[in-house]
């Protein structure tokens, strides 16, 4: 079994062991991004028929969907809150998609919470997963104080409703402050990084 398959499998298994309402810090390497997508969205969420609300401030939802299609991952249960297309002036294409909700800018953290809330209300699935991709890209646009407040309110609200939360962070781009911020609101941490040769 390859490292990539190992990482995705291990990740899906660890997520499955977490009870609903868990907030999980998922630290990854840039190189393992695709394995993380497969492990989280496909092997964990899709296999358990969980609707996923995927908040992306890293790459546009359009690009993300192309990646997921290339990986042959079913996206019918995935709803995107896209915080980046609008500021990239690429909103029109994304707007045509029923599975995509736009937030004008990653600085509009309250609007991210509102869109997540809206999609949770629309979702018919018993269990739900919210993925924040990533805390590092949100940190580019927001100071740590407001970002910490955002995470606290968002995660507390999701936990109260038995929603899984996964907060992605990229190890190469993280700082001790960001790690502390995430650890403060999360119940458990998973490291999805291939072992060094």
């Amino acid at each position: 079994m390859s490292d990539a398959t190992n990482i995705a499998n291990k990740l899906a298994r660890e997520l499955s062991e977490a009870p609903p309402s868990s907030a999980i810090s998922l630290q990854m390497s840039v190189d393992n991004y695709l394995d993380v997508l497969r492990g989280t969205l496909d092997m964990f969420a899709n296999s358990r028929k969980i609707d996923t609300i995927y908040v992306t401030s890293t790459i546009s939802s359009g690009a993300l969907k192309r990646v997921l299609n290339a990986l042959e991952i079913d996206t019918s249960r995935t709803y995107f809150v896209d915080c980046i297309s609008h500021i990239m002036m690429g909103a029109s294409a994304a707007q045509k998609d029923d599975h995509t909700t736009l937030v004008e800018s990653p600085t509009m953290l309250e609007n991210i919470m509102l869109k997540v809330e809206y999609l949770i209300r629309l979702s018919q699935s018993k269990e739900k997963l919210v993925v924040i991709d990533s805390i590092n890209s949100l940190a580019i646009h927001n100071n740590n104080w407001i970002l910490s407040e955002f995470l606290h309110i968002l995660v507390s609200g999701l936990r109260a409703r038995d929603v899984y939360t996964v907060i992605l962070s990229v190890e190469e781009h993280s700082t001790p402050e960001i790690n502390n911020m995430v650890n403060l609101v999360c119940d458990m941490g998973i490291r999805a990084i291939a072992k060094e040769e």
Partner: protein
């Protein structure tokens, strides 16, 4: 320990976040001023308040002053919970005030004290006839323009509030203010007389424009005085707390 919320029965607005802010809803029979500048979501929120009332079987009445009610209905947010049957069954009624002006013969640009009495009697008689338990006037500011003086406005709002309260009707008076207003109503009178003030605004933060809502005053209940950010969605008005980390970085 649960917070004391007083003895007053509640009119549950059906807007989750707002009911939470108000510790369970608007105290029944209160007259509320829903105030804010244009584009802040006042009409949408007021309409949702009525729709939820109608869905709970309460007769609800929208008195439209500035906009023809047909046009209003065509432009409202396509709510997922809205059903045409609410209108067909008469649970949700719309009245255009300009039509009422004509019928009452109020054609002059300024109303006399007698005409104010006539208008209050006209509105309350419709509310009584329909058994209205929730009423919205959109907007009270447009009516006030025909009253001109603060004495007349005070007289009108007081009499209207009393008449609707006597009918056990919970009312929302929509008020328009200019964006950087220092008071909560155009004429400065309505805010002092109403039982509650809900302020809706556009807040700019680092170039982003956020819609906000804040309950300034609400007689008969404890309430949050914090500012919330809102979104108008097909499932209704959604509210989340304004993040304080951003409030100093306008």
């Amino acid at each position: 320990m649960s917070p004391r919320t007083g003895e007053r029965a509640r009119c549950i607005t059906g807007i989750d976040g707002l009911d939470t802010i108000l510790y369970g809803g608007i105290p029944r029979s209160n007259t509320i001023l829903l105030t804010g500048s244009c584009g802040t979501g006042k009409t949408s929120l007021a309409l949702e308040f009525l729709i939820h009332g109608a869905m709970q079987g309460e007769n609800s009445l929208f008195v439209s002053v500035t906009e023809n009610s047909d046009k209003l209905l065509a432009n409202i947010m396509p709510y997922r919970f809205f059903e045409d049957d609410l209108i067909k069954s008469g649970l949700l009624e719309f009245v255009d005030l300009p039509v009422m002006y004509e019928r009452l013969g109020m054609t002059k640009p300024e109303m006399s004290m007698e005409e104010i009495d006539l208008l209050v009697a006209g509105i309350s008689s419709i509310a009584k006839e329909l058994g209205t338990k929730r009423l919205v006037i959109d907007s009270i500011t447009s009516v006030c323009y025909k009253l001109k003086t603060s004495e007349k406005i005070r007289d009108f709002v007081l009499k209207l509030s009393k008449a609707l309260s006597d009918l056990e009707c919970t009312s929302i008076l929509v008020s328009e203010v200019s964006a950087p207003a220092s008071s909560y109503s155009m004429f400065g009178v309505e805010e002092a007389i109403s039982d509650g003030i809900i302020l809706m605004a556009n807040m700019e933060r680092r170039g982003d424009l956020l819609r906000t809502l804040q309950v300034i005053k609400m007689r008969g209940t404890m309430h949050s005085r914090a500012k919330y950010v809102l979104d108008l969605t097909p499932v209704g008005v959604l509210l989340v707390p304004l993040l304080k980390g951003g409030s100093s970085t306008k």
